[in-house]
Amino acid sequence: MSIAYLRLETLRQMKNARTLIFSLAVPVVMLFAFGGSFGSSGAVEPKSGLPWIVLTTIQMAAYAAMIAALSQSFSIVNERELGWNRQLRITPLSGTGYLISKAATALILGALGIVILMVISQLAFHPDLSVGGWLAAGLAIWCGIVPFALIGVIIGQFAKPDWAQPIFMATFMGLSLLGGLWVPLQIFPDWVSNVAKAVPSYWLNRLGQMGAKLDGDWLTPALVLLGWTVVLGAFIIWRYRRDAARS
């Protein structure tokens, strides 16, 4: 694994990331729809103690980052289909190196999504949050998408080209729903909200809010995310090594 490769590979993928603009359009539009309707007044949501517009921005930034990270699956499927993976396997690039290059790009794309959403929100709505609050919220969400970057890599490794889109959608929606990103978990039986706490998407929002408030219990989400990262990472490396020569 060399820094030179990582640099060339991420730069290459960034150039290919023009399609990301379209994926980001959805959260941006939603930011304006929700933020515009009840956010610009500066009202504060009582439970979290944060302004509504900050909550909405965090939610949409998390959404954008999640899409960006998961969308890495498409470029991997594409490269596998082409035979580029096969070419890479006769180079010193290790399974770990491959994982790092793919996950790193997913994380950079995710960071880009977070920054774009937050900058747009700041420019359009001037929410009442310090720079430190934004930075901490962004960083927290960014840490939260590590498992998604890895899930993107796994979908990329497994999915046949025709299946990448449906699997992407199912994963994305399933994790969003189970993580309580769309529907409040309170409407489900208690056990569902307990299960949700083991799902990385549950923490995406919460982490953003903790970051924005600059306080909260970090230990549980850190352990959950670390657990996911280790398990998914180990699985990816195993899979890369075992992948039959001609898939």
Partner: protein, 349 residues
């Protein structure tokens, strides 16, 4: 021969004569080849077998390739050439048997940048230019050639700035060759490198391959063209049905593959006397008879025919065809590896 320091150290740790392949060949090693024999083989396959379900793609292949040899893996489609190369590179796990490159795990040889390959189903990214592709792969190697040099060696300098997607079939293969040589490998695998190339592209490709091998490097290429194997290899290993059916110099293998077939019908049924008389005809290599018909494989069809017609007035419906490589493969497979030509020790062009 390659004399870089890495090889020197590897040489010293090598078991002396054990480096040679199959037991039948070890006895043939003479004093004059002792030097070559003490070297670690670039590639060594032992009892290599790979099954996919009920299909045995590679069936107990034993093969040792010395450093500096240029070897063609010749065989029809489905002979197991590509699977053998995948196994040799450690891209696929053998059902049984082992594959070694430079006396160790294939992955170690790859990590050390000693191996380059153009594989079936491998491809470059269409959105990159040729130079960018080479640079990207160079960046994972520890001691790569400069991008310019790799491009030069593969005759890709003029197409360096073109996008891979816009290249012709032959240009694409050259670009892949550039990517394969950027690590400055000691061993190069080429799996049907000239498929989809026109004659001119083929010529240019083999020119750059020649430059590569003249520096004493090892090349293993798969092909189903006898001509290509004959012209560019020092040694031809014929594969059929996943087995090595012949292994020798191009001259030896060509002798096995070439020849004519004479189909003839007699006025009486086949018997021992007739068999003896046909066997005694000039040029006859083998005879296969059924009822009153015989199929004679001959090295000199003219002489065989003259004798046949002179001695057997009842011979009729004579048909002479040239033996195709597929026929030869079939004959060799049916006859087992016993008919294989023995390799000439130390054969180098």
């Amino acid at each position: 021969m390659n004399t870089n320091p890495v090889n020197e150290t590897r040489l010293r740790t090598a078991p002396p004569v054990a480096a040679r392949s199959g037991s039948t060949r070890a006895s043939a090693v003479s004093g004059s080849t002792a030097e070559a024999a003490s070297e670690v083989p670039a590639l060594r396959l032992s009892g290599l077998t790979r099954r996919f379900g009920s299909l045995t793609a590679v069936d107990g292949v034993d093969l040792s390739i010395r450093q500096g040899e240029v070897v063609a893996l010749l065989g029809p489609n489905g002979a197991g050439k590509s699977t053998t190369i995948d196994l040799a590179l450690g891209l696929s796990t053998p059902t049984s048997g082992t594959a070694e490159l430079f006396g160790g795990d294939p992955r170690d040889a790859i990590t050390g940048g000693r191996v380059g390959a153009m594989l079936q189903g491998g491809a470059l990214l269409p959105t990159l230019t040729v130079a960018q592709s080479v640079a990207l792969v160079a960046s994972v190697h520890k001691h790569p050639l400069s991008v310019a040099e790799a491009l030069e060696r593969a005759r890709c300098t003029e197409i360096a700035k073109q996008k891979v997607a816009k290249l012709s079939g032959g240009q694409k293969q050259r670009a892949r060759f550039a990517v394969a040589v950027v690590s400055n490998p000691d061993l190069l695998f080429l799996d049907e490198p000239t498929a989809a190339m026109d004659v001119e592209a083929r010529r240019i490709f083999w020119q750059s391959m020649r430059d590569f091998t003249s520096a004493g490097r090892t090349v293993v290429f798969a092909t189903h063209y006898l001509d290509e194997a004959d012209e560019y290899a020092d040694r031809i290993v014929m594969l059929s049905g996943g087995r090595v059916v012949a292994d020798g110099t191009p001259r030896e293998v060509k002798a096995v593959v070439s020849g004519r077939r004479i189909r003839v019908t007699f006025g009486r049924d086949w018997d021992a006397a007739l068999a003896a008389s046909i066997d005694a005809l000039p040029g006859v290599r083998s005879v296969d008879a059924r009822g009153n018909q015989a199929l004679i494989v001959t090295d000199d069809s003219d002489a065989t025919l003259r004798g046949l017609l002179a001695e057997h007035e009842d011979a009729h419906d004579v048909e002479v065809t040239s033996q195709s490589m597929d026929d030869a493969f079939l004959a060799l497979t049916a006859g087992g590896a016993g008919t294989a030509a023995a390799p000439t020790e130390g054969a180098r062009k």
